[in-house]
Symmetry: C2
Subunit: 341 residues, 2 copies
C-alpha cells in the first residue's frame, strides 16, 4: 500500500468537519483505502463478487449436512433467469440490491454443467480427491486454479471493479478450510472446525476426526503444499483472485471462513496481500475469528452470517464505499468555515 | 405491522435456497420489513435522510466540546455547493455514496440562516431555553416542531422514500437527549450521559450535574411534557418524522442516541411505532444501548460512530435493502430444484 498517501489521508481525515474520531471505524478504513488506491481522495467505483464453485472428495465422508448434488444445483441457481434478473441465490439478490456484478466460475464441480454464457469454466477435475486419504489436488491442478482465479479477477477489474469479493460455493468446503486454517495457524482442528451448513454434534465430531486424519497424513507446512494437500479448487481460485486484485491495487473484500482460508495461504505467500484485505462481517463459523486475529483485521459487523457465496462481502461493500466517500468528499473545517476545527 | 404478511414471510424465508438461518440477522430483519410493507416480497426503494438542526439554551452552561456557532456553520455545510454535489458534511458524502436523498431542516437554529432553496424552515424560536432553569420548549412550540417533522417526512415519502432516516445536528443536544432518556427509562443521569462531541471528564461531570438539576426542576413523566420540558426542537421534529413515517407504513431507520431519545418519546406515545423502527449501529454514546434494550431492538453493527447527522442510518440502509432483496428475490428450494430443502 502507498504509505505516503496514507499519511496524507491521515492528515486530511483529522481536518474533516466532524469531531475527531466521530466516524469511528470508518476513519481507519478510509485511510487503508487511501493506501490501496494511492490517493487521499480514494474513489472506488465498481463492485464485483466472484463466486467459485467446487466439489470435494471428502464430502463422501459425510462431513456436510447437505448432499454434494447441491453444488451444481446452486451453480444453476446463480445463473438462472428470474423475474428480478440473473440468479436466484442470496448473492444474486444482494448484488442486485447494491449494484454489484456477479461472476460465476466452475472451479471443479462434480457434474456436467449445462453450457451458459455467464459461466466461467475453469475446472480441471470434477471435484477434489478426499483429503483424508490423499492429496486433494496435484500441484499442477492447484496452479491451474490459482491462475484461473487471477484471470477472472483481471476480467472483473477490466469490467470496472475496484472492490473484488471472492466468494464460494461447494458442499463440504468448510472441511478443507478448517484443515488449512488448523495447519497454518498451528491450532487444534477442534478450535477451527464449525458446523458449516449445519451439521449436528455427532457429525461435527466426525468432521474434526476426518480433519485430524488429513493433517496426520501430510506434514506439509509451506503454504502452496498445504493448499494442494488439503484442497479445494475454489479455495485455490479465490487465492488467485486475491493475489491478482492486490497486484493491481484493488480492494479484496474478505467474506467468510472459506475465503479466510484462502487469505491465510495468500498472506503466508505474500505478506503484503494483507494491506489489500478488508474483512466483511464476523461470520458465525467458529474459526473465522482466529483467522481474522492472525491477519490483524477487525470485522465490520456481526449479523451471524454463515452462508458463503460472498454474501457478507456484498453487504460490506457499501460500508467501504461510504468510508472512502467521507474521506474524498467531506469538506475540512477551514473549507467550510466551521469553528472549532 | 401486518402480521399476516409476516407469517407468509416467515414461511417463505424457510424455503429459500440456503441453509436455515444462514443469513443470520438478515432473516428476522426481512420478516420485519415484510410486516412494514404488508407483503412477503417487500420492495423498499428510496432512502431519505432528514437532518433537523437546532440550538440549545443549555449550551451556555458549557456542556459541549464545541461552541454553538458550529450549528449554523454545519447547516451551511449540509447545503454547500461542492465539486461532488450538494453538501460537504459526512452525511452528504455517505448519502451520495448509497444514493440517499438529504433533506435539511432548520428546526430552531440560533442564527439568521441565509436563504437556500433546499433549506426547510421550521424554526419557531432561535434555540431552546435552558432546560436546567425552565421548560426548554412550550407545548405550542413542541407541537409545531412535531408537525413540521411530520410534514417533511410526508414530503420525503412523496419524493419516493420508503426508508426514512431522521438525523440531527445541534451543539449541546446530547444533554436534552440524556435528560429525556434518564426520565423515560427511569435511570440515573450518569448512566445515560456521554461525551457527545468529546467532552473531558470534568465537563462530563458538569453535564451530568446540569441534567440532574433539570430533572429535579420538573416532575413530568408523560412523554410530551417530558419532551417540552427537556427539549429540543430537532428532537421534536424527529419525533414527528417517526410518527408520520410509521403512519404511512414506511421504515424508520433509527440512528444514534439523540434519535433514540425521540424514539423513546414516540414509543411511549404510540407503542406500535416500535414495529417501524429499525436500528442502525450501536453508537459509541453511552446510553444508546439502554435505549435499544428498552425498545427491544438489536443494532446492525458496531463501528463506534458518534457523529449524528443520521450518518449511521445511511450506512445501515443498504443492509436493510439487502435483507428485503433476499426475501423478495431469492428462489425457493422447489423453484430452483435444489436438493435438501
Amino acid at each position: 500500500a502507498d504509505a505516503a498517501a496514507m499519511t496524507r489521508a491521515q492528515a486530511r481525515q483529522a481536518q474533516l468537519t466532524k469531531p475527531p474520531g466521530a466516524l469511528g471505524a470508518l476513519e481507519a478504513l478510509s485511510i487503508r483505502l487511501a493506501g490501496v488506491f494511492g490517493t487521499e481522495r480514494p474513489h472506488p467505483r465498481g463492485v464485483a463478487v466472484l463466486v467459485a464453485a467446487g466439489d470435494h472428495g471428502v464430502a463422501a465422508q459425510g462431513v456436510s449436512a447437505f448432499p454434494p448434488e447441491v453444488t451444481p444445483a446452486m451453480v444453476a441457481n446463480f445463473l438462472a433467469d428470474t423475474p428480478y434478473g440473473p440468479g436466484g441465490a442470496a448473492v444474486n439478490a444482494l448484488a442486485r440490491s447494491v449494484g454489484a456484478r456477479v461472476y460465476v466460475m466452475d472451479a471443479g464441480v462434480n457434474a456436467e454443467l449445462p453450457a451458459h454464457p455467464a459461466l466461467h469454466r475453469a475446472a480441471v477435475r470434477r471435484g477434489t480427491r478426499d483429503l483424508s486419504r490423499e492429496a486433494a489436488m496435484t500441484p499442477q491442478e492447484t496452479a491451474a486454479l490459482i491462475l484461473a482465479g487471477a484471470a477472472l479477477a483481471r476480467r472483473a477489474i477490466e469490467g470496472g471493479a475496484d472492490l473484488l469479493i471472492p466468494g464460494e460455493m461447494g458442499i463440504g468446503n468448510t472441511t478443507p478450510a478448517a484443515a488449512i486454517s488448523a495447519r497454518l495457524l498451528g491450532l487444534d482442528p477442534a478450535a477451527v472446525t464449525g458446523r458449516g451448513t449445519g451439521v449436528d454434534d455427532e457429525r461435527l465430531a466426525h468432521k474434526v476426526a476426518v480433519i485430524r486424519t488429513a493433517l496426520a497424513r501430510t506434514p506439509a507446512t509451506d503454504p502452496l503444499t498445504v493448499l494442494a494437500e488439503l484442497g479445494g479448487f475454489e479455495i485455490a481460485a479465490m487465492l488467485g483472485m486475491m493475489l491478482q486484485a492486490a497486484a493491481l491495487r484493488r480492494v479484496v473484500v474478505l467474506d467468510g471462513f472459506v475465503e479466510g482460508s484462502a487469505a491465510l495461504v495468500g498472506v503466508a505467500l505474500a505478506p503484503a496481500l494483507r494491506d489489500y484485505l478488508f474483512p466483511a462481517g464476523q461470520c458465525a463459523e467458529v474459526g473465522h475469528a482466529a483467522q481474522l486475529a492472525h491477519l490483524g483485521l477487525t470485522p465490520l459487523f456481526g449479523l451471524d452470517l454463515r452462508l458463503g457465496e460472498g454474501t457478507g462481502g456484498v453487504l460490506a461493500a457499501p460500508l467501504l464505499l461510504g468510508a472512502a466517500a467521507t474521506l474524498r468528499e467531506m469538506r475540512t473545517f477551514e473549507e467550510a468555515a466551521v469553528p472549532g476545527g
